[in-house]
């Protein structure tokens, strides 16, 4: 069930769970939560399918995987991308579940100390990781990020209740939802870009299907062990933090993998690590998010918020007592995670050959098909025609940006994380009475801010550093 929901753009895990919640009342609580949570697990793994194949995010947390997954698919290696993503998801989840099994309570204590400044610092890190490490020009990355951010400000301002940039129209009051924009930027933008060379026509048909892909993917995983592990740990931690879940984790995972990778330039063009890291992160986050949910009754992510509602409905109270009074519920839940993870992986792997072969359909048919699906996806979010126009507009923008070398990633990240970031920023400033010093006064956020700043300025320092080195070597050569 989760797999199906995850695949469809526009239909999210949270909605799927919410819809099925009423039915679950008839189950006993343990079965109920296993049922609903499995939707989450399935969606976490399968959300990448449309992301990789069509550049359309299947889920909120399947956006970062587009950056490198879609190029891979275009190069004819969709099977590899998909398999790598699934395997990474599986491992990420598995490690996270193991950590969860042993570390439930103590971790929760630390996460409780998180306030707005810390949340802001984490989000800033996600930004910085991608902007600062952009291979391309930094000013363009900043423009992209600023643009994305500005797009999120359109609509009703949460804090003051004033409408912003709506130009007097009612339709813009709810602002731009990031899914139509992403669908436009990546899906349609890609089609426009590729149509210049009719490139959507596919490359080399892989006769031997599954095993070869699995083998390659496993190799890739072994090589990118760092990306895998870092992604998982970062992701798990992010999931545990209240409020931030898989959606934030994917970008952090991507950014960190790129930062420490030996071939940074390949990111954005089809580096497998770029697929492995965000997936491991997002999946680990999904699991991690259940931690505060169970131990403190605080949702670790938007989707767990819905699961939490379920817990209340079934008459259970989250907290330490849940562990002592209803051990079967908690441990049954955790045990089911292992199982669901495995099953999801198997089903997805079996599906890979079928999925990959979708890319073999000729340009003339595939293109309009993708367009239709994209527009449907864009429409379905809010049943709004505006969203369709947004997608088209974003498509044009995406095309222009690609042609002129503006990085798309910062824009999308800003779009997804913008609201959260702004809220965290404003709350923090209120706490600090208007002074930005609050971010550094608190030890935890101070440390995180430090990391964010370093990541941000890394590219600026790098050329300077290189020039210095070259100057030194040149001087040495002259002497000799």
């Amino acid at each position: 069930m989760g797999l199906v929901v995850g695949v469809l753009p526009g239909l999210g895990a949270a909605s799927g769970i919410a819809i099925l919640l009423p039915i679950s009342i008839y189950f006993d609580p343990t079965a109920a939560i296993i049922f609903l949570a499995s939707i989450y697990w399935g969606a976490l793994i399968a959300g990448v399918i449309t992301s990789i194949l069509f550049s359309i995010p299947g889920e909120t947390w399947a956006v970062a995987v587009i950056f490198d997954g879609a190029p891979l698919a275009r190069q004819g290696r969709a099977g590899l991308a998909l398999t790598a993503a699934f395997l990474a998801s599986f491992v990420g989840k598995l490690v996270a579940i193991i950590i969860l099994t042993f570390v439930a309570l103590p971790l929760a204590e630390v996460a409780l100390r998180f306030g707005p400044p810390e949340t802001f610092a984490v989000l800033l890190m996600a930004f910085a990781a991608v902007v600062g490490l952009g291979g391309g020009s930094v000013p363009k990355a900043i423009i992209a990020a600023a643009l994305g951010f500005l797009l999120t400000t359109v609509g009703l301002d949460i804090v003051t209740g004033k409408p912003r940039f709506t130009f007097g129209t009612l339709t813009l009051l709810s602002g731009f939802h990031f899914i139509p924009v992403t669908i436009g930027l990546y899906g349609i933008g890609e089609i426009l870009y590729a149509s210049e060379e009719r490139v959507l026509k596919l490359v080399g048909i892989k006769g031997q299907v599954m095993l070869r892909d699995v083998w390659e993917a496993v190799q890739a995983l072994k090589r990118s062990l760092f990306a895998l592990i870092a992604g998982t740990l970062v992701g798990f931690w992010t999931g545990v933090l209240p409020g931030t879940g898989a959606t934030v984790a994917q970008f952090l995972g991507y950014g960190i993998a790129r930062q420490y990778s030996k071939n940074k330039e390949n990111f954005g063009k089809g580096a497998v690590e770029g697929v492995i890291a965000p997936q491991a992160a997002a999946n680990a986050a999904g699991i991690g998010a259940t931690l505060p949910m169970l131990t403190m009754g605080i949702p670790g992510s938007p989707t767990t918020a819905v699961l939490l509602a379920g817990i209340w409905i079934w008459g259970l109270t989250p907290g330490p007592r849940l562990f002592t009074e209803h051990p079967d519920f908690v441990w049954g839940f955790i045990a089911s995670m292992y199982l669901a993870n495995l099953m999801a992986l198997l089903i997805c792997l079996l599906g890979v050959p079928v999925l990959a072969s979708i890319m073999r359909i000729p340009y003339g048919i595939l293109t309009p098909f993708i367009v239709v699906i994209s527009l449907i996806g864009a429409y379905v979010i809010n049943n709004s025609f505006l969203d369709i126009w947004v997608a088209v507009g974003a498509g044009v923008l995406g095309y222009l940006m690609r042609k002129l070398g503006y990085p798309l990633a910062p824009l999308v990240i800003a779009l997804v994380l913008g609201d959260m970031t702004e809220t965290a920023l404003r709350q923090s400033l209120i706490l600090g009475d208007g002074s930005p010093a609050i971010f550094f006064a608190r030890p935890l956020s101070g440390a995180l801010m430090g990391v964010a700043i370093v990541l941000f300025f890394y590219p600026l320092l790098q050329p300077g550093w290189l020039r210095l080195k070259r100057a030194v070597t040149a001087a040495q050569v002259k002497k000799a």
Binding site: K140, I142, R164, L192, I376, V392, Y399
Partner: protein, 157 residues
């Protein structure tokens, strides 16, 4: 593509100017609940403007001569084709509903652009929307835009 670079940068610059002006109207200072509505947009637009200035400066410095503005004629036509058909699609959508519009789009596109044979195009135009209908409308009960036929109860789509 100097003109295009500058053009886009200028567009961004214009946009940031617009945002700045609006944010000031929304007040950029502190309100009763902390930073006011215009606060963040103002600084964002400012950064964006700074970015565009940097981009323009770099462009002027690196490419003092003019290069081609846009991709060549042929490629451009492919893009225009796509864009026009896309816009046409969206314009027709509220009237003809998703299934009829997609059917037309798929059929015409695969025939004219994809240069497939007419029966392939026809098959595509019929089968895909049909499949979509059963999957999305009946299966997932999604609310997709329907045609005027539907609104007059003449057809289920």
């Amino acid at each position: 593509m100097r003109k295009a670079e500058l053009g886009l940068a200028l567009a961004f610059l214009f946009l940031s100017g617009l945002v700045i002006e609006r944010s000031i109207r929304l007040t950029i200072g502190w309100g009763p609940n902390g930073p006011d509505a215009g606060f963040l947009p103002f600084w964002l637009a400012l950064s964006m403007a700074a970015g565009t200035l940097l981009v323009m400066a770099k462009e002027l410095r690196l490419h003092p001569t003019q290069a081609a503005f846009l991709p060549g004629r042929e490629r451009l036509s492919a893009i225009i084709q796509l864009l026009v058909s896309l816009v046409g699609f969206v314009v027709l959508l509220p009237y003809l509903g998703i299934y009829i519009t997609s059917s037309l789009y798929l059929g015409l596109f695969s025939w004219l652009v994809g240069k497939h044979r007419w029966y392939v195009a026809l098959a595509v135009a019929v089968l895909i929307p049909l499949a979509l209908f059963f999957a999305l409308d009946e299966g997932f009960r999604l609310l997709l835009p329907k045609s005027f036929l539907y609104k007059r109860d003449l057809a289920p789509f």
